[in-house]
């Protein structure tokens, strides 16, 4: 028993020690920042000049992508959150509505000129009645293509219109050795929306409500289902896009800059045999504007310090430094222009595409409701042979009236 007691005492003292060590000294100013994924070390490096200048310490906490919902929800429930947090764009509206974030509209931002809406790529971000975040990094979608495989099939230029995409995909699918022409990720709810935009339409009506009745959306559906009907895209939902592109099974696809990193890492020898091009389009070449924002916790203890950090992070210099450290495209216009002119042909395509990109409609819950309904409808047509008319009527019924402010 005495051994057991020793163990118990040891455990308890360790627990107490660990509990106390987190308390800190409390005298200096300190901010806690939640950063997604594994880039917290790089973020810490990024804010060093800020801490040196302002004597405000920044404590970065990395939150795994998979767990942000639990972490945020429990923080809202207890009212105990970080001072500043990174927010994926698809979560923005839900998090704003939770009331946990500081309202950044109007007077709050006085004295922080760097945070004015006009400086950002996404001008809509800080407008409207309840802005609760500032843009932090940009992301978009472009066309990736294997120039070697396209050339071997007699295609010298990447397709500029969806019509060409479909034709080229057919040619590529028919090439010797099998494979496909294009790839549609079955989990990507943005692609059909991008297709709708580039057909000259929208999925939001004049009253800012979701509306899948636009003729351009119907054309986008025909394109989406047509690619499947042609046999130009793999029907397996678990198809790996990196592997598909590297192996050449799918020599064209639409994806974001992160894919370029994954390709270079997986197959450095492929350099020069693939390239990126702007999103194809029949009417426009509009792509998706996504990325992440930064929000301030409403009940945080040092609002002034949090806003000063936001100000620092929105400086073009900082944004460029982050692009170099982490590869995330800037959300600030002037920094993005610099990337466009100075960072090589690929980055120029991304930056150029960002000047013709728009965010998904800000519905209450894109990922698990509106976007999911859209994907379910399209996938039921192409995978289970559901009647398109019925599937689209159900989609309209399920989403009609969803506000998209």
């Amino acid at each position: 028993m005495s051994r057991l007691r020793t163990v118990l005492i040891a455990v308890m003292s360790l627990v107490v020690l660990t509990a106390c060590s987190g308390a800190g000294d409390g005298s200096s100013r300190e901010l806690t920042v939640w950063i997604m994924g594994d880039s917290s070390d790089r973020f810490q490096e990024l804010v060093e000049p800020f801490s040196a200048r302002t004597r405000i310490r920044v404590e970065t906490v990395a939150v795994p992508w998979d767990s942000i919902d639990q972490k945020f929800t429990t923080a809202v429930a207890s009212g105990k959150g970080p001072d500043v947090l990174q927010i994926g764009l698809s979560k923005l509206r839900a998090y704003t509505r939770s009331g946990a974030l500081l309202d950044l509209a109007g007077p709050t931002l006085k004295g922080h000129p760097g945070l004015a809406a006009r400086g950002f790529v996404d001008r809509t971000a800080l407008s409207g009645g309840h802005a609760s975040s500032v843009p932090w990094s940009s992301d978009t979608r472009v066309l990736f293509y294997r120039s070697d495989i396209l050339a071997a099939a007699g295609i010298t230029e990447p397709p500029r219109t969806w019509e060409q995409v479909r034709a080229d995909a057919k040619v590529l699918t028919a090439r010797d050795g099998g494979g496909y022409g294009f790839f549609i990720p079955q989990w990507d709810s943005a692609l059909p929306v991008i297709m709708t935009w580039s057909m000259g339409g929208d999925i939001v009506d004049a009253h800012r409500r979701i509306d899948f009745g636009d003729p351009a959306f119907r054309r986008a559906v025909d394109l989406y289902t047509g690619l499947y009907a042609d046999g130009s895209v793999p029907a397996d939902g678990d198809f790996d896009q990196v592997q598909g592109f590297v192996s050449g099974a799918t020599p064209m696809l639409v994806s974001g800059p992160y894919l370029a990193g994954a390709i270079s890492e997986a197959a450095p020898e492929l350099a020069g045999r693939w390239a990126v091009a702007p999103i194809p389009g029949d009417v426009t070449h509009t792509s998706l504007l996504s990325g992440s924002h930064l929000g301030v916790w409403r009940t945080g203890h040092d609002r002034d310090a949090a806003l000063r950090l936001l100000d620092f992070l929105s400086e073009p210099r900082t944004q460029l430094a982050w692009y170099r450290l982490d590869g995330q495209l800037p959300a600030v216009r002037s920094a993005l222009d610099e990337v466009r002119h100075a960072a090589g042909p690929q980055a120029a395509v991304y930056a150029g595409q960002l000047s013709e990109a728009r965010p998904l409609p800000q519905v209450p819950d894109w990922d698990s409701r509106t976007g999911k309904a859209l994907l379910d409808a399209l996938n039921s047509i192409v995978l289970t042979g559901a009647d398109p008319g019925t599937a689209l009527r159900e989609l309209s019924a399920a989403t009609r009236g969803t506000s998209a402010s």
Partner: protein, 291 residues
Amino acid sequence: MSRQIIPYAFIAPAMLLLLAFGVLPIAVALLVSLTDLDLAGLGDWAGAGYVGLDNYRSLLADSAFWQAMANTGVYTVLGVPAVVVTSLAVALLLNRSEGRFFRALRAFYFVPAVTAIVAVSLVWGYLYNTQFGLLNHLLGVAGLPPVRWLTDPALVKPSVAVVAVWRGTALNIIIFLAALKAIPREYLEAAALDGASELRRITSIVLPLLRFAIVFVTVTTVIAWLQIFDEPYVLTKGGPLGASTSVSLFLYQQGFSSGRFGYAGAGTLVLFLVIAAVTLLQVRARRLDAS
């Protein structure tokens, strides 16, 4: 110390923890299920309103919920017999010998229980992958067409269930082994002397003595499978088209991803009642069976 309080002193620490982290949450779920609590209401409880049984009404009218219920039923029907039979069979075989080789094998059978869920999703996702996976590669070598293990709505449930069976047997093998060790050797030796064959010794001595262990493993396995979450979550996120969504996963999506806590609370309570009813039925059936 008064004699009456002794038992309470022994059970108090565990009881407190169980009440706080097991019983209280279901009471909270009951209360929340009568409100329209969402993410905003969570920060400021005044924002949540009483809605009576509305959540239950819309839940019972929600085809996605029924799909999840049906999927969970399929999982349970496929998985529980597989887990119980496999783990019992492996335990019986492992118990044949105390040799080094047999003891070493136990570690192999225990591997799935200790494998982190991240690894489970990576490795099995790879094995099942339609285009680049090992299973389809082997099928290809044998001249057979590829199979869409995780993306065919009809196949996805069995595929996910296989992974859950793989993970679920390890612990039950240990429980059965422990129960087998507790059977007095004399019984078996006496029967062997009487000329009973090995199969006969197993069916007429070992299995009846394992009755309790079998019931225990069956009941706990049923409870676990009615709550199946990890495997569909990491392998398919519930897809394709909801074909692999379990009730637990559905509740998680409604609660944490969509912030509909009232709705998820109602679903939680329904799932809890279903599990309780199924468990009671089983226990009662065993009792009738025994008398």
